[in-house]
Amino acid sequence: MSTEENGSGTRYKHGQRTTGSIQWLFQAASGVFIIFFLAVHLYVAHINGGSPIELFDTVVGNLRNPWWLAFFLAFLWIVTYHGLNGVKGVIYEMGITAKTRKLVSWGIIALFTVSVIYGTLLSLVVAQMTIP
């Protein structure tokens, strides 16, 4: 959107119209979820498990429980979204052109899709593995 026609005489070229504020809302909301997820995850993995590390049996056992599987899948999707959206913001602010921004945006979307699909498949496959 150019402002030259309104006679205010600015040479400023406006940025891309986005749903920026709604994106911020998603970032904040996902942040709240992550605090909850991470609290549960850290407690279960490092304190309540009785063992400082989650060994193969525990991980597979957990993932066989559909509730835990749903928990980890939601965690995976939300944390990847939050992280990659944050990285996108950082790259956006490095003073790159609008064209590069579009490339970065698509790159981030592609990386997100690949990561989420890989993570989901990994969880589903591991849930089917036999405990020795």
């Binding site: 309104n6 040479r11 119209r17 749903t19 920026g20 956006y92 490095m94």
Partner: protein
């Protein structure tokens, strides 16, 4: 023994783009503010030193420069309060240097103009009388209307330092100032202008603009309030569209 002089270390650049550093000794008795020191230098020591100044009382916003590493107004910076005998003066960062301490402030004003910093009336008719406002309505935006366009906030903002198209604190604060004005009807337009990927989305509340603002406009606060308004504006749009689609 306490030195009788301030040592001014000035980062200069000729109009041909050659950079150098000059040192001047200015007697402490002769000056109180940094701006007076610069005036003393140009009158007595080196007439070629270029810098902008006008009102000497933090109203015109001309003498913005970096003093001892901080963006400041030279007129309101007391030399004695800096705590050092050496006063390092350099041009305002994040702007193109034209000569010595004079920077090209035009991008700042372009961004400022871009948010339509004037009262937008909904009806085209000329009002029959002046537009009245109660003191309470004035109080709503008074703080944000104190901006003197000195450009210090843009020099302090880390995002403006890396992303030169970012609208910047002053322009966004001006957008809020006119959105809060009871006479104004253009808040929707301004929210659309500022809610871009070069607008409020780029602010991450480092708050340095508010730290350096000589008039306590608190631009960082203004941007966050603008963000809230933009979110409700966007959500309203979504729901209105949803209601229309439902019918």
């Amino acid at each position: 023994m306490v030195s009788e002089n301030y040592e001014f270390v000035i980062k200069r650049k000729t109009e041909h783009g050659v950079s150098r550093q000059d040192r001047f000794l200015v007697p402490k008795k002769k000056i109180s503010t940094v701006l007076e020191g610069l005036v003393y230098i140009s009158e007595n020591l080196d007439g070629t030193l270029s810098f902008r100044h006008s009102c000497r009382m933090e109203i015109c916003g001309s003498c913005s420069m970096e003093i001892n590493g901080k963006p400041k107004m030279a007129c309101s910076t007391i030399a004695g309060s800096l705590g050092t005998g050496t006063i390092k003066v350099s041009p305002l960062p994040h702007y193109e240097v034209i000569k010595d301490l004079v920077v090209d402030i035009e991008p700042f004003f372009d961004k400022y103009r871009a948010v339509k910093p004037y009262v937008i009336r909904n009806n085209e008719d000329k009002p029959s009388s002046e537009l009245l406002q109660t003191p309470e309505q004035f109080k709503l935006y008074e703080q944000y209307s104190m901006c003197i366009k000195c450009g210090l906030c843009l020099a302090a903002c880390p995002i403006s330092g890396s992303d030169e198209d970012y609208l910047g604190p002053a322009a966004l604060a001006a957008a809020l100032r006119f959105n809060l004005d009871s006479r104004d009807g253009g808040s929707g337009i301004r929210l659309e202008i500022t809610d871009t990927d070069e607008g409020i989305a780029r602010c991450h509340y480092a708050g340095e603009c508010s730290e350096v603002c000589p008039k306590d406009v608190d631009p960082s606060k203004a941007i966050q309030l603008l963000r809230r308004a933009a979110i409700s504006h966007e959500l309203k749009k979504v729901f209105r569209r949803g209601a229309k689609g439902g019918k």
